[in-house]
């Protein structure tokens, strides 16, 4: 049933929401893609860092592995499986499910089909990318049998860098014509065993652009695919968390010794968490690689990207699925919102552009609401809200007086906003709970020890 729901939402996004955004809406559509992909990354990392409490800081590496696997498969695979042109030739696209274009450029009938062989190849590549990433997840999960805390963090960080450097150090050549592609060795296994280094020709799977990045990838990633996979990730994470296996994961985070003594095979579950998280990160990587406007480059999938994902997980609250998803929305939108910051008194910036105004206002509301959410005293929450708005207006007024464009300082403001949120909510927006947990009254009832439940985190 939820699967049908997820497919339904994905279809609605693609065929109802996207046309509604219209011609000028590609910016918002792109933001939606980013939100979906980031939410997948954050929720999958939650399975490791949030559920089992292992601190992995190499998540972008799984994304890179998935991205490159999927990219090689769609790019070179199409020459073999689908035939015809490579994607460097303009205009080769998938069916209606895999496009972000509002107008179809081709008139030979291919483009107007709902689903084509290319879409299936893309879907298969995503799964393959996820599976290869999962294998890497298993490999990285293995040291977690022995290492804890900071030590594991260092291993995962190192792993991430190793993956990045290996990808970047491969040949920068990408083959363009079908003849070239069909001549080159696919896996190069026979070649490797021949050991004739002077005759070495890089096999197709290593021809992924190296340090220059993989250019010419088709833009298949659409609202449909992103929200299909994002929905799947959320459903799997939610069901897992609320099952006996989820309790096993969480017990490892709470107390590994007790967990083991209560019959939980902690090693097995830690590895499983890594494998599962890596799978979804790999799929997210595949989606990222085929996004319009993205040139796949391993350099962008290094530890900085890993930390971006960690920021989302920590901001949302370690262990909270809805928190991670919400944080992904905020972290994706906040820098954009700060480009043209909202203001009640000064709806337009010095440059007059206010196109982002309605969006950014919503974001600011979300952020402030998130910060004030569980404040015990309502008066304090309202004061905080008013204070934020007033301080903001004052800043805008000052900026206008001084002829300063605030959007120049958006990265500073973004960082300040993160610091502020962590000071106000050190355990993340939602702690370990979920948005819907808050409705249960017994969760925050004062107890005999005088402390209160999860509601007392502020």
């Amino acid at each position: 049933m939820p699967l049908l729901g997820v497919v339904g939402i994905a279809l609605l996004m693609q065929f109802v929401l996207k046309p509604m955004l219209g011609e000028g809406g590609s910016f918002y559509a792109k933001l939606l893609l980013d939100i979906g992909i980031n939410a997948m990354l954050a929720v999958s990392l939650t399975m490791v860092n949030g559920f089992t409490g292992q601190f992995s800081i190499g998540h972008a590496a799984f994304m890179a592995v998935g991205a490159y696997t999927a990219a090689v498969l769609t790019y070179y695979g199409s020459a073999y499986l689908v035939g015809g042109e490579t994607f460097a030739d303009a205009g080769v696209q998938g069916g209606l499910v895999s496009t972000m274009l509002t107008e179809r450029v081709r008139d030979d009938g291919l483009a107007t089909a709902w689903i084509t062989a290319r879409d299936l190849l893309f879907a298969g590549s995503l799964v393959a990318g996820g599976l290869v990433a999962a294998v890497f997840g298993w490999v990285v999960g293995l040291p977690s049998l022995r290492l804890k805390g900071d030590y594991l963090a260092i291993v995962t960080l190192g792993f991430g860098e190793v993956v990045r450097v290996i990808i970047q150090s491969q040949t920068a050549d990408v083959l363009y014509t079908v003849e070239e592609i069909k001549e080159a060795p696919v896996l190069g296994v026979a070649q490797m065993f021949a050991l004739k280094t002077d005759e070495w020709v890089a096999p197709l799977w290593l021809r992924a652009g190296g340090s220059l990045g993989f250019s010419g990838l088709p833009f298949y990633t659409s609202l449909f695919w992103v929200f299909l996979w994002c929905g799947l990730t959320l459903v799997v994470a939610y069901r897992l968390k609320n099952s006996t296996y989820g309790r096993a994961f969480l017990s490892i985070r709470e107390d590994e010794i007790a967990s083991e003594a209560m019959g939980v095979n902690t090693t097995r579950y830690k590895v499983r968490a890594f494998v599962l998280a890596a799978f979804f990160a790999g799929v997210a990587g595949g989606l990222f690689a085929h996004t319009s406007g993205v040139q796949l480059n391993a350099g962008e999938l290094g530890f900085v990207k890993s930390f971006d994902i960690i920021i989302m997980v920590v901001l949302g609250g370690l262990g909270s699925i809805s928190g991670a998803a919400l944080a992904a929305v905020i972290v994706t939108l906040l820098p954009e919102a700060l480009r043209d910051p909202p203001s009640l008194l000064f709806p337009t910036g010095p440059n007059g552009g206010a196109s982002f105004f309605p969006w950014s206002l919503i974001v600011l509301g979300l952020v402030v609401a998130g910060v004030c959410w569980r404040a015990e005293r309502k008066v304090r929450a309202v004061l905080l809200l008013l204070g934020t708005v007033l301080a903001w207006e004052a800043l805008r007024y000052g900026a206008r007086k001084a002829q300063v464009d605030l959007s120049d300082y958006r990265n500073v403001m973004y960082a300040l906003a993160l610091i502020l949120m962590m000071i106000l909510r050190p355990r993340g927006l939602l702690g370990v709970g979920e948005i819907w947990d808050r409705k249960r009254p017994h969760r925050s009832v004062p107890t005999a020890t005088g402390k209160t439940g999860p509601g007392a985190t502020l």
Partner: protein
């Protein structure tokens, strides 16, 4: 009494940490339904014995058999699965999980459905989840914790946390239960209640229990048989009466007069 089926047979178990011989040639026999005490002065090696029995440490030598199956060297979760559950001297609850989830987690070791079934929510997995919930609530009722089922475990008062640890250990469906100083830090009133609870667990479930305890009053009152440990060696075994009058035990606890 001696015809009762033996649950736990330990013989010749030794463990050294570097030069320190923490446990030497330790032996113990626990029969079905027995409530046995393991006592000894501070540092005698009682908790080390528990850690050896439950797989936290691997014994250097000796033989540990649970219901006839050799368990030394197995990992703690395997030993728990085979039916040996424990509590900890310093409480180790899953603090941020609810009281109910603490007990439900302990049923995990008996779960038959796979992780995939959990994600797909197959009928089998849902039935089993419901079964786990029922069983956990039953145990919480028995341990008088049902009205706190949805609170965070760490928010419970100290005595309740101790009780919850026993409930959690019971939820794994053990053949024998090892309690490591369950009365530590309790007031006299709580100790009396705890003694009653341990007896009830033994009588109602026919549970076999090995109890480490410093409170002599409690041990002497509820245990049928007592093993006394000093400097890692068993110095006496017998009924409370026998142990109390044993000169070696008196020497271990009170010291020996120089002659």
């Amino acid at each position: 009494m001696s015809e009762r089926e033996s649950i736990l047979e330990v013989g010749g178990v030794s463990k050294s940490f570097g030069g320190l011989k923490a446990v030497q040639d330790f032996g113990l026999s626990l029969r079905k339904g027995e409530l046995q005490g393991l006592i000894g002065p501070n540092g005698a090696g009682k908790t080390t014995v528990f850690n050896l029995l439950t797989g936290v440490y691997t014994p250097d030598a000796g033989d540990i058999r649970l219901g006839g199956v050799r368990i030394n060297g197995l990992r703690p979760h395997r030993i728990n699965g085979l039916g040996l559950a424990r509590t900890f001297q310093n409480i180790r609850l899953f603090g941020e999980l609810s009281v109910l989830d603490n007990v439900k987690l302990a049923r995990h070791v008996r779960v038959r459905h796979s992780m995939l079934a959990s994600v797909l929510r197959t009928a089998g997995s849902l039935n089993e989840e419901a079964e786990i919930e029922d069983r956990a609530m039953e145990l919480l009722k028995l341990f008088d914790l049902a009205d706190r089922a949805h609170e965070e475990a760490r928010s419970l008062p100290y005595g309740d946390q101790r009780r919850l640890e026993i409930a959690r250990a019971m939820a794994t469906g053990p053949k024998a239960l090892l309690l490591d100083e369950p009365a530590a830090g309790m007031n006299p009133q709580e100790k009396v209640e705890l003694a009653g609870l341990i007896r009830r667990v033994r009588d109602e479930f026919g549970m076999t229990i090995l109890l480490i305890e410093h409170d002599m009053g409690l041990v002497m009152k509820i245990c049928e048989k007592i093993t006394v440990l000093d400097y890692g060696k068993v110095i006496a075994v017998g009924s409370p009466g026998e142990v109390q009058t044993d000169p070696k035990v008196m020497a271990a606890y009170l010291g020996v007069e120089d002659t």
